[in-house]
């Protein structure tokens, strides 16, 4: 193992880590605000992939323009799901919310399989490569990193500098108190769920610009999102980016030291250990 090999692995890890980060962000936000583990997160990521793919390949829309549309659709879908389903179970034991979101997952997955089959799709989109010394970086991956940073920044600004964002944080902090202060918690929760699914859809859309995918592809990002959530602090959407980067780098570097198939074993053991030792996440975060 030489230096350039390590460097390549590190950079590759960071690039995938950014993607993991944005994929986990929505899940983390929803958990933080309403204590709901959204088991439909993965399939919404997959819908985001199909959204960008379909706009691009059938309408010839630029994928990043398509991404905007997909984001808006994701927001609407989230608000819709909130009012139809989540609002009714949000005060029920957490098992209800788990199973409710899981049934949404089943419904979307069933419809998706009927509509798209499980044939892998590939957008075939490319922005060329950038060569930097020993590194070969794809344009699409760099843009994805950029978009993620922009989205994270925007989310940060939204949560900390705007009124609805502050409301969201107030509701996350103490829903009963926020309601007493006259914050319309129902609408704020709907907005949070909408933003959560929007982030999932954006993540999916970005992934579609460089990876092949099927309707089932969201699952793997959902699972990684759990790990990332625990790494970065469950409920802390901004920690998700950091958690994603850590996971990405681990996945990039670990295979240099061990057989590749052992990496997921390490990953999940690490997940359990962190949960046991510090359930609020390696990087702290609100409890």
């Amino acid at each position: 193992m030489n230096f350039s090999n390590l460097l390549t692995s590190l950079v590759d890890g960071l690039l995938i880590g950014v993607v993991y980060g944005i994929a986990a962000m929505g899940l983390n936000l929803i958990w933080g605000v309403m204590r709901v583990i959204n088991l439909a997160h993965g399939v919404i990521i997959a819908l985001g992939m199909f959204g960008v793919y379909l706009f691009f390949s059938t309408l010839g829309l630029n994928p990043y323009l398509a991404l905007l549309l997909v984001a808006v659709l994701g927001l609407l879908l989230g608000v819709l799901i909130y009012f139809i389903v989540i609002a009714r179970v949000i005060n029920a034991p957490y098992l209800s919310t788990l199973l409710a979101t899981f049934s949404i997952n089943m419904i979307i997955l069933g419809l998706g399989t009927a509509a798209f089959t499980t044939t892998p799709r590939d957008s075939g989109f490319s922005l060329g490569n950038v060569d930097l010394g020993p590194l070969t970086l794809q344009g699409t991956r760099l843009v994805a990193a950029l978009v993620t940073i922009l989205v994270t920044g925007a989310l940060y600004y939204f949560l900390y500098r705007t009124r609805p964002g502050k409301y969201i944080r107030a509701v996350a902090n103490n829903r009963a108190a926020a309601e007493l202060m006259g914050i319309p918690s129902d609408r704020i929760l709907a907005l949070s769920f909408g933003i959560g699914t929007m982030l999932a859809a954006i993540a999916g859309g970005l992934i579609a610009t460089f990876f092949s995918f099927t309707i089932l592809s969201g699952d793997i990002y959902q699972q990684k999102s759990f790990v990332i959530g625990v790494l970065g602090g469950l409920g802390n959407p901004l920690g998700a980016l950091l958690g994603g980067l850590i996971l990405g780098v681990l996945e990039g570097i670990l295979p240099l030291a061990m057989p590749n198939t052992w990496v997921p074993v390490i990953e999940f053991l690490l997940f359990i250990i962190i949960l046991l030792v510090k359930p609020s996440g390696l990087l702290g975060g609100r409890q």
């Binding site: 788990l98 199973l99 997921p264 359990i272 949960l275």
Partner: protein, 329 residues
């Protein structure tokens, strides 16, 4: 009051399971036997998970781990050591119990959604570990020679034998489930479910109680795993640790009513028959066969139940008709 045999609720649930199990035997009908196998398997998975989820209030997404580990250990014993099936089944159950004991010591400290998340981690860690574990064949899994069935009088007899095993385990599982529910230990578990901190103050040794609940819920799935994979002739990591199977077990419990003895039984029966019917249905929706939409239909039904009768069928009946409580355990 506390005597099991005087309670009609006990007889009702027992009779349902006995009848379900006996039907294919009286008919000597192989298709009924296979259907029965699927249903009874689901009943045992749901009933045993109910001990942790319904009685103790800990939602586990990792129940299938016990099924998978038991299955693997049993298959390993049959394939590599040539042990007879009943011994392998026992070992399967014991090794699952041991795993549950060790796991329980570690992760049962976590509460609520954190525990649920940890069990997902456990499932994935187990699957990826076994996929690398050479003695269990790593990714290739363990395959049995067709000739192993000869020792049991050929494949036909072996399939019946496995079926009798499952019937026995299923009957045992509901008696067991009922017994725990009406025992002092069960009362302690339900206290933990209602309020774990209060339970400690009352004097319930919660770490032990939870661990034992976990262990007791793990034994029967471990035994079932051996029977199932023996019957199929092979085991692979993906089949043994299928997260979806755990989730289906949760769904069955929700359908029937968590924390009741009858609920998981009816939930498992209903769910499996519904899926089975949808999968083999010839009905068409427009130009598309209904079976293409079985996932959508199942998801939709489940959503309706969660939104409108969250305590499940049995729970709902018990709430609506207080007089039925004695009958619906």
């Amino acid at each position: 009051m506390r005597k099991i045999w005087l309670n009609p609720g006990f007889w009702l649930v027992l009779a349902i399971v006995v009848a379900l199990g006996a039907w294919p035997i009286f008919q000597q009908d192989a298709a009924a036997r296979e259907t029965g196998f699927t249903v009874l398997l689901a009943i045992v998975m749901a009933s045993s998970l109910n001990i942790v989820m319904g009685y103790t209030g800990y939602v586990s997404f990792g129940h299938v781990v016990f099924y998978g580990i038991g299955g693997y250990i049993g298959m390993y014993f049959i394939d590599s050591l040539g042990l007879p099936l009943p011994v392998a089944v026992l070992f399967g159950g014991l090794s699952s119990a041991l795993l549950a004991f060790l796991l329980g010591k570690a992760i049962l400290r976590l509460r609520g959604a954190y525990f649920a998340l940890a069990t997902i981690g456990v499932n994935e860690a187990a699957r990826t570990f076994v996929a690398n574990f050479q003695p269990f064949g790593a990714a290739t899994g363990i395959e049995l020679q067709f000739s192993v069935y000869k020792a049991y009088g050929g494949a036909l007899q072996a399939l019946w034998l496995v079926y009798y095993g499952v019937v026995g385990i299923a009957i045992f599982s509901v008696i067991f489930s009922y017994y725990i529910k009406t025992s002092k230990f069960g009362l302690g578990l339900m206290t933990i479910r209602e309020d774990e901190d209060a339970a400690e103050v009352i004097g319930i040794v919660t770490p032990n109680a939870k661990t034992w609940a976990y262990v007791l819920s793990a034994i029967l799935p471990g035994m079932l795993g051996v029977l199932f994979f023996f019957k199929n002739g092979n085991v692979e990591p993906g089949d043994a640790f299928r997260l979806g199977f755990s989730i289906e077990s949760l769904v069955m419990i929700m359908l029937g009513g968590q924390g009741t003895v009858l609920g998981p039984v009816l939930g498992a029966l209903g769910y499996q028959r519904l899926r089975g019917t949808l999968l083999t249905s010839d009905l068409m929706i427009g130009s598309l066969p209904l079976k293409d939409f079985q996932l959508v239909i199942s998801g939709f039904l489940m959503l309706l139940i969660i939104l409108f009768i969250p305590s499940g069928l049995v729970g709902w009946l018990r709430q609506r008709f207080a007089t039925l409580r004695r009958v619906l355990a």
